[in-house]
Assembly symmetry: C2
Homo-oligomer: 423 residues x 2
Amino acid sequence: MIKLGVLGLGTVGSGVYEIVKYRSDMLKKATGEDIEIAKILVRDSSKDRGLDVAEGVMTENPDDILDNPEIDIVVEVMGGIDKAYSYIVRALKAGKHVVTANKAVISLHMEELHKLAEENNCGLLYEASVAGGIPIIKNLKEILKINKVDDIKGILNGTTNFILTKMYDEDLSFEEALSLAHKYGYAEADPTDDVEGYDAARKISILASLAYGTHASIDDVLCYGITSIRTIDVVEFKKMGFVPKLLGCSTRRDNSFSAIVEPILVEENSMFASVKDAFNLVDVLGDNLGELEFYGKGAGKEPTGNAVVMDIIDIILKNYSEFKFEVDKSISSDKGNLFTGLHYLRVSVDREEDKAAVVEKLNASGVQCKYKELERDIIIVTERISSNRIEKLAKEDLGLAKKTFAYLRIESESLVSIDQLNI
Amino acid sequence: MIKLGVLGLGTVGSGVYEIVKYRSDMLKKATGEDIEIAKILVRDSSKDRGLDVAEGVMTENPDDILDNPEIDIVVEVMGGIDKAYSYIVRALKAGKHVVTANKAVISLHMEELHKLAEENNCGLLYEASVAGGIPIIKNLKEILKINKVDDIKGILNGTTNFILTKMYDEDLSFEEALSLAHKYGYAEADPTDDVEGYDAARKISILASLAYGTHASIDDVLCYGITSIRTIDVVEFKKMGFVPKLLGCSTRRDNSFSAIVEPILVEENSMFASVKDAFNLVDVLGDNLGELEFYGKGAGKEPTGNAVVMDIIDIILKNYSEFKFEVDKSISSDKGNLFTGLHYLRVSVDREEDKAAVVEKLNASGVQCKYKELERDIIIVTERISSNRIEKLAKEDLGLAKKTFAYLRIESESLVSIDQLNI
């Protein structure tokens, strides 16, 4: 008998509860063990959750789980950072295995937590922290056994993919699409984490850390959101045959890596372009096996609950011991320098006569580009430059104020020079 | 020290050889063992293969491997059916684990071979037999631990996907595209297995067998190839916004399943449509986790070699014991009855005046449809009917001779009635 202590009973926690309860036969077959949820930490145990939880299982006291010698595995699905982190630390120090869905905690503390898990002979798994139902972490670990992985990129945030899909397919403005995302429950009350790219940044930092054997912290991830993309941009994207997607990307060359979250223009008949609504897609490039892509639901009760329970199974089967997170201190972040590409840049001006000044500065910048002037906007496509250079071009060379511009890297295998492009 | 005996040193065998040889450190780290290729069975040991194989490792005598008590794992990558099958049986009976890339043997004999493996406490893994570098079998087994999987579909054959891509993107005829596939090494000298769908049928039969716990033999798979698709069809597909793809599909309802390989029309902005050239994509629908898709290289030395070596690692780590292939005799094949959809049907006639007879028979068939007459062809779209019914319509109701028609099921979430369609 394996006893679980579950911290939190929100969306993911309910999913875990239902799978463990209603699929006990399958779990027994997969692990050889009976699995029981012995305790669930909730904020208010009197609240009716529509779940048939037995008397005495819910508790408001974390000690009932963390100090409970009967509990083998602690499942952290409460969210938040500081409290969740301290509970995970306590659980590991008490010799309990930990399964968590908490990308914020893992992204911040993975190096320390893995060390703690190892010292205490415990498993620490967090499949559900990246891309919900997609088993990307387990597959990445498998791939890494006999592949060097330098490049990872993915649509890692369902909320922004939903918004961009609506903006592109149904010509909604960013604000209209965001409001629809709220209506469908895809966006949080405060959508900052999603639309500014911070959520995706945590996820790509976790994947990059595993792939490179370094702790890529969220501070190493350049992060641009999608809030500056306007309807006028979408019109231009369509003319050029591109679809905007918020991608988390990481790449390594020698002992440097770059990680970034930014809106990218992908070709309209590409795999990434076909990912609609709240789905996720992760692309991993292994040096033996080439490109491998994983597509599925990036969030939701059942898919994320499924990921958590798969981790529980692997803990019981001791599959966690096959992968050891080892830190290579010689690898360091090179910010956005390793990412280069043609870039789309739209600059908006208040008055038509302000455009000349922008064009003058553009010419003085030394960056080759093509541009066309619209009534109150200038649409620019630059030569191949780095992600750092486009940022400098917009903010320093052109001296643009926030909200007056948007830029996106163009990812295209066929397009290598601005000469090929008619804008 | 783990000693491997490798049967065959063709494309896949060379890939395995190179990974085992040049990634020995990674393999040691992943398994804790030194791994050595002790013997390789070849037809002609004097042939120069450009591989640096040590003296005495190559042999032309299978007994050197199958009767060799030092060999722990037999890796069958020789292809063919009867000989490969008999060697696998001998290896298992001798208590050796078996890793094979042989879809023909597994598709035919998986039930018996799994039984034999179990009786002899051996592992039997065959990741490379389906979709090359994509770890679909391992992931499917993982998903099945806590999901019921009723539906699987995939682009499982790179050769036909290459041909269809060239026909659609570059307006080549089937014959021109096939000749290009030969030129690039994507097609065998005799392409029958690929273009008639038999290769994909073996693969979907293996996946269906695992998902349903039955032995779906290749005889249970309805199989239509792509040889009847003509340029005139591709023109019509484009007008309707569809892309033709050869899909292997299996579905289950209650205790019946249907498995089929057939060209299907998918929407032009769908994931399947974006799979180009020789890539594969497999879609699995789990009842907890929803849709999960896996994309990657379906063939080639490195990707397939990678899949074989991953199996070797899992044998060493004893991961094979987590999945037991159990046969449920209550599940039986219902041919193509479980697949239904609108169908595209093109009928070609020798003389313009023959069209009237076709239209008359069509009206008499009782199948609702829309049609338009071209010079020597009739383009028909039927109401939702089963895969068995469309076959009967073409062959019996219309009495069409082979080579005078082509039909494709239309897979579209938005299109449910022929009234929506303008042909």
